[in-house]
Symmetry: C2
Subunit: 536 residues, 2 copies
């Protein structure tokens, strides 16, 4: 592609409204422009990267026989009412009326639509398992769209849905998708972790989120420094039996669990993990009491809660306190013998901390921030049951499909790649997703020898099968170098003063190493270097 | 792909709600399902065809350096207000409000969005010409969605937009796109005509519509039986000098042209062409008077209009009447000498008819029905002027961009291909867009020899690089043959009773010819036949 007429509006300055690196660099490198809050145009350079990511996703999914289809973006409201999500989704679901006043949603996800299709199309266990995917624009009206492609209102997703007759079949596909995701994210050049995540309210079961590690990530991951273990911090179990001394200091934490007020006992310095506690206490809602609620329930202030004032309430202690024979109540300083407290039960209530033993028994917990780029999810039968989607089994009995769903944020993945692959001068693309393989520069396009050699190389390098961006602009060499670093193609080939000898400079963007090479050896050298870079 | 678990829900019966062949066949062949009026799911078989059409479009556009990007579907209303189309588009434009109450449109076309991007991104004649395209889901709230993919509310389009500094540059790109469209529609197997079309109200100039010939088409095309000439019937000029006798019978037609009532004189049996007449009379609106308006203006009934009653009104005659020395007024039977009428001017006012001489002087006009599958359009400066999008020319002066736009209905093209390629048994895919190249059938999957040979062929045929659909279902041979004809892959390979000898049957879907072949010669034969079919 000739850069002279390539739509590549690079910017010198960092845009003031972009807070994170990927957003800044995509604007500066002429990859995208904003059309409205959280709504972007992907310019040709970005489109090329997106296409390469999509091709890798397609390749890995087709390799395990996932079938591509395209579901519509306009969803009749009736479908979402069948599962109750028309009301549950709130403002994030973009709604509209057609000319006849009928209600539609703009699809943020497609469980309802695919379930309605399969409900009518399959019918027999003989056609199972089925696994289908699509790559498509999705819509979600985020309250605060931000960070460029990391949290937009219109974005590109790969979503897949699988249908099964047995739990084993669902698990097979779930595992196969998990492994495909590992291959996909590895191939696009990401450092990531598959973390145990919250299956939420929709009756789902197992779920892993794939997180690209990055400081700007909105999620905190707890991971083992020696094993594969990783979990969303809210899902990380804490090993029992961590009492560090025989008389630990503890805090009394009054909470409302569904409609009952109970007292939680946590070690001093420990933080309540509400997500885990919901599961452990088997309740639907859990909230710590505010000052007024404490006053009403205990006729005293939070800071004055004591063994005496909480008498009569159910008392549940964090499991790390199990085995301690006495405690010091943190806010009152009272020493309490264990027998004075009637602890009803012990449970895993607290947030894991850095330095804790890993729950899998291997290594120590570290924290990292992550960007969610994918998720695999066993949905179970929530959608098939609420929508009446069933198949006939071998005995002719109707059963609801067991379902899985599997998402990858394509546009977000592109942003995550940039978050992980940049330096002070710009983007540093991994070869597999680079918009072009090579950046060919004429340093002085008025010099005939340079122009002529550049034209010749442009032709021959393309013929060798590489994608070449050819900077044929009548700009100064300094401008071209700066843009080349900003755009960050893996290999730069500069045609300069030694053109007359047939010598050009080859520079590797990621390492900064450069050397002069005769054009007779250029193709071999590029081949070798791209190979090396791909193997990193 | 193994058909046993391929999502391919074929239907035996013709769905009652489908009126045209392509709609019926896409439902019956398990290619699509309706989600709402004019809103469809493309099942895997259709998705494969769409991908092949898209690949051909991409290839031909990239060959002439059109750059791919992706514009958003959510358009802030402000952009559409800049051109006045927010009001003009009426109910066809799907509108919605975001959570903050801001107005958005769902893009049916992207002139406003791309112009806003280029307005900020380019700025200099040095970066021109620019030509960008995208392939994307579009939305249009049709009053009467019908005929399946031929008139839907959510559909796939390729749209391209070009920007230029000179009329010559625009014309170069316009011609290049025209030729690319010819190649694209030829390659996907369509019989089509490029027809002269109406540039409408948006200040555009030249425009051609690409029409796939089909009886179900909503447009009538007038074309020459010997030359390339073709035009939308409303745009077809009529050759002057067609007076067939010296005393032709004529009709008096009172019309309101803008605010003036004038009398048009047309040959008997000729029909007024309002679109052409608007241009010829250089007015903005034109309508024939109704009975009441005639009564008010002429104090008589339509049938009683005579030379006397219309006295004083401007009289414009169809050019075919030029040269006649006398007329017979059709409704009164009065004979009128030409000198008695003060005809102000002659113009091309009437609809062309079958049998007329072609306007290009070559051959005779025939009519055909067509499906609009593409359009090339010189937009001129309507969008750039109304949105203030300008570049600096060589003298540093600001000029509005000259623009072109170029559309292809991708999903509609798929339907048009089926309209042209089917028989009483189902679809007959052209090789270039067939969802698979080969259909491999095991006629009796319980027979071990057949099953074994089929599995072996499935592997080797795929290794040869062909897309193979493998009917491994435990169905009767008759069911498999029926489905194979319905789905319509170019070549069917049936493994039946002669499996033990290593002999299979090869059948060509389009010609019906079949022959037995030994598996040692199978690949060569398939190669030859696909080659022959591709050259048709």
């Amino acid at each position: 592609m000739r850069q002279k007429t390539f739509l590549l509006p690079t910017l010198r300055d960092i845009p003031s409204d972009a807070d994170v690196k990927s957003h800044q660099l995509m604007l500066r490198a002429g990859m995208m422009r904003q059309n409205a809050a959280g709504v972007y145009t992907y310019l040709p350079l970005a489109k090329r990267v997106i296409s390469k990511v999509e091709a890798i996703v397609r390749e890995e999914l087709e390799a395990i026989d996932v079938q591509e289809l395209t579901l519509p973006s306009l969803h009749p409201s009736e479908l979402w009412q069948e599962t109750g999500r028309w009301d549950k989704m709130g403002d994030e679901l973009i709604r509209l009326k057609d000319r006849h006043g009928r209600d539609f949603a703009l699809g943020p996800t497609h469980e309802e639509v695919i379930t309605s299709i399969i409900r009518d199309a399959i019918g027999s266990y003989k056609k199972l398992p089925l696994n289908v995917f699509q790559i498509q624009t999705k819509f979600r009206d985020e309250r605060r769209p931000r960070f460029g492609l990391l949290r937009g209102r219109e974005f590109i997703m790969k979503d897949a849905y699988s249908f099964h007759d047995t739990e084993e079949s669902l698990d097979d596909t779930y595992q196969a998708m998990y492994r495909a995701y590992e291959r996909i994210f590895t191939r696009v050049g990401l450092t990531f972790r598959a973390v145990i995540a919250d299956s939420g309210a929709m009756g789902g079961k197992d779920t892993f989120e794939f997180m690209a590690l990055a400081d700007v990530g909105e999620d905190t991951i707890a991971y083992s420094d020696t094993s594969n273990y990783a979990a969303n911090i809210e899902m990380a179990a804490v090993q029992a039996g961590n009492v560090e001394n025989t008389n630990p200091s503890v805090q009394l934490l009054p909470v409302k669990a569904d409609d009952e007020i109970i007292i939680l006992l946590l070690g001093a310095g420990h933080e309540l993990n509400e997500v885990k506690s919901l599961h452990e206490l088997q309740v639907k809602s859990l909230s710590t009491l505010n000052d007024q609620e404490v006053q009403e329930a205990f006729s005293t202030e939070k800071g004055s809660l004591s063994i005496q004032t909480i008498e009569g309430y159910r008392l549940i202690a964090d499991q790390s306190l199990q085995g301690a024979s006495s405690f010091t109540i943190e806010n009152t300083g009272d020493a309490v013998n264990c027998t004075e407290l009637s602890i009803d039960s012990y449970a895993d209530l607290r947030m894991i901390q850095e330095g804790d033993a890993s729950p899998d028994g291997q290594g120590t917990i570290q924290f990292a921030r992550g960007i969610e780029i994918g998720q695999v999810f066993k949905l179970g039968t929530f959608y098939s049951e609420s929508m009446g989607a069933s198949f006939l089994d071998q005995n002719g009995r109707a059963n609801p499909y067991k379902m899985g769903c599997y998402g990858i944020g394509i546009s977000r993945t592109v942003a995550a790649i940039i978050e992980q692959h940049n330096d002070e001068n710009g983007i540093v693309w991994p070869v597999a997703v680079a918009p072009f393989d090579l950046h060919l520069l004429t340093l002085n396009s008025k010099n005939e020898e340079q122009a002529e050699l550049s034209e010749k190389l442009y032709t021959t390098l393309k013929q060798s099968g590489w994608d070449v961006l050819y900077d044929d602009r009548p700009e100064r060499a300094g401008v071209k170098f700066k843009d080349a670093d900003l755009i960050g193609l893996p290999i730069r080939v500069s045609v300069g003063k030694r053109a007359s000898e047939g010598v050009v400079e080859v520079k590797v963007r990621s390492t900064g190493e450069s050397e002069d090479v005769h054009i007779d050896n250029l193709a071999d050298m590029i081949q070798t270097k791209l190979q090396e870079l791909s193997n990193v």
